[in-house]
């Protein structure tokens, strides 16, 4: 590292709502390899340019496995449970293939009707309860929870339990390890049931892969099902649905454009993904296993590098008018789902869930609006995802 380079405290100050901190823009143009100090762990590089982000995420000289056992730069004292995201190919490949088969574009398309039915049911309930209501509690949380429960074969009735674990995993909680143990116990019971009575849901398929083909360990099975699919699948989509709705309600011109031409929906979802950050800080540092030069600066073997996906998604070298929502972009190669080996396993499912959710809300609520302006919106204070935890809407 350059000795005299400034070390910045990271995460940068929290930006309000769905905005991102202007420091990313500054760094991208003046300091593409910035040095940052997180609340815990060693000093790290932070990259904000699109090309550098993609290089770090695909070049085998940057490793997630090499991060294990290191004092990783992080936002809380305890290490985040990593599971599959702590592995490199080919170990990573073995696990990823098992769950990935259920989440291809083709498979996800077959789930669209079911997701539509679920979305309509929650909107029916909203309408029955009457306007106004909290979109987070009434729709954004139960809808993806139900979709994931049906895919995995986890009883929806237990959602109150795993919601506590999710909140524990995504907050600054000191009880992280305890929550992981409880979640693993819970998944362990569901796995035991499947050994007695095999099922054809995704959890049943993972149990079969373990027992008949020995393709993953018991801990890997519980981790990928519990953390990788159940908790991650719910927390991400349930956070971004209110983000996306908030963006549309506070940009009436975008809402009007989408209402006038629904064929824009897939492109609108991509643009919302590009513009709105899911995480308040870059996570999961890659460790260089050889010297690599990025934007003219050499990262030495053994040094950690964090990548900013929101930074890359607003790189003017790739996106015209990068700071502006544009539902008519012809090219939108954003990296909101990451890139390379660890590209979001559930990306196709998430896309489908977002499209169905927004279509449904627009169809059923022609006059959807914020109920009390920004007074009716409160924001999560955790360190792993950012978005409303309450979004009062009227219709």
């Amino acid at each position: 590292m350059t000795i005299d380079q400034e070390i910045r405290d990271y995460p940068f100050r929290e930006s309000p709502g769905i905005d991102i901190d202007p420091t990313y823009k500054l760094l991208r143009s003046t300091e593409p390899l910035a040095r940052v100090q997180l609340p815990y762990g060693e000093v790290s590089w932070l990259v904000t340019r699109y090309e550098d982000v993609k290089t770090v995420l695909t070049d085998p000289r940057f490793s997630r496995a090499a991060a294990q056992g290191r004092d990783q730069p992080r936002t809380r004292a305890e290490m985040t449970y990593e599971g599959i995201i702590g592995l490199d190919p080919p170990d990573h490949t073995r696990l990823r293939k098992l769950a990935g088969k259920a989440l291809t574009a083709r498979r996800v398309n077959e789930m669209r009707e079911g997701a539509q039915r679920v979305a309509d049911e929650y909107v029916d309930e909203m309408i029955a309860k009457g306007s106004p209501g909290d979109l987070v509690e009434l729709f954004a949380l139960p809808y993806p929870t139900t979709v994931i429960c049906e895919l995995l074969g986890v009883p929806f009735e237990d959602r109150a339990q795993f919601r506590i674990w999710t909140q524990g995993l995504t907050s600054t909680s000191e009880q992280l390890t305890g929550y992981i143990e409880q979640l693993f116990d819970y998944m362990g019971k569901l796995v035991a049931q499947r050994r007695e009575h095999p099922t054809d849901d995704l959890l049943g398929a993972l149990v079969k892969a373990r027992d008949e083909d020995d393709r993953l360990t018991e801990q890997e099975l519980l981790g990928i099902a519990g953390v990788g699919l159940l908790l991650t699948g719910v927390e991400t989509v349930s956070t971004h649905i209110p983000n996306f709705v908030y963006a549309l309600l506070t940009h009436p011109e975008l809402m009007a454009q989408l209402r006038a031409d629904r064929s824009l929906m897939p492109a609108a979802v991509e643009e919302l993904l590009r513009m709105i950050p899911l995480n308040p800080a870059a996570m999961f540092p890659r460790y260089a296993v050889a010297d690599v030069t990025l934007s003219g600066t050499t990262v030495r073997a053994g040094e950690p590098v964090l990548v900013s996906l929101p930074g890359a998604n607003r790189d003017p070298k790739v996106f015209e008018n990068p700071e502006t929502f544009d539902f008519t972009r012809r090219q939108n190669p954003h990296v909101a789902f990451g890139h390379g080996s660890h590209h979001c396993l559930g990306a196709q499912l998430a896309r489908m869930e977002f499209q169905v959710a927004l279509h449904t809300l627009l169809d059923r609520f022609p006059e959807l609006r914020l109920a009390h302006g920004d007074e009716g919106v409160s924001w999560k204070s955790g360190l792993l995802v950012r978005g409303p935890n309450r979004l009062l809407v009227a219709w």
Binding site: P90, T93, T104, G340, H343
Partner: protein
């Protein structure tokens, strides 16, 4: 002495590809992302489980692996 020189042909459907880079992560010796889409580094490759993995993992089923001589489909498995 007989030499069995099996070759595999890896192809990318560039219309289906959305450039996730999952394939390049699994098979970095054979596949890279070029201009936002997956590209094979050589038209044919020796047998390597990594390209089977790449084809099986692609969420868009955009990668196909065949035996170069017989044309037999090797991946993706469905």
């Amino acid at each position: 002495m007989t030499v069995v020189d099996t070759r595999w042909r890896v192809t990318v459907d560039r219309d289906a590809c959305i450039g996730t880079g999952v394939c390049a992560g699994a098979a970095p010796r054979q596949i890279e992302i070029r201009a936002g889409k997956a590209s094979v580094l050589a038209a044919q490759t020796g047998p390597d489980e990594a390209v089977i993995d790449a084809a099986d993992m692609c969420p868009m089923s955009a990668i196909t692996v065949r035996d170069a001589t017989s044309g037999t489909l090797l991946a993706p498995a469905e």
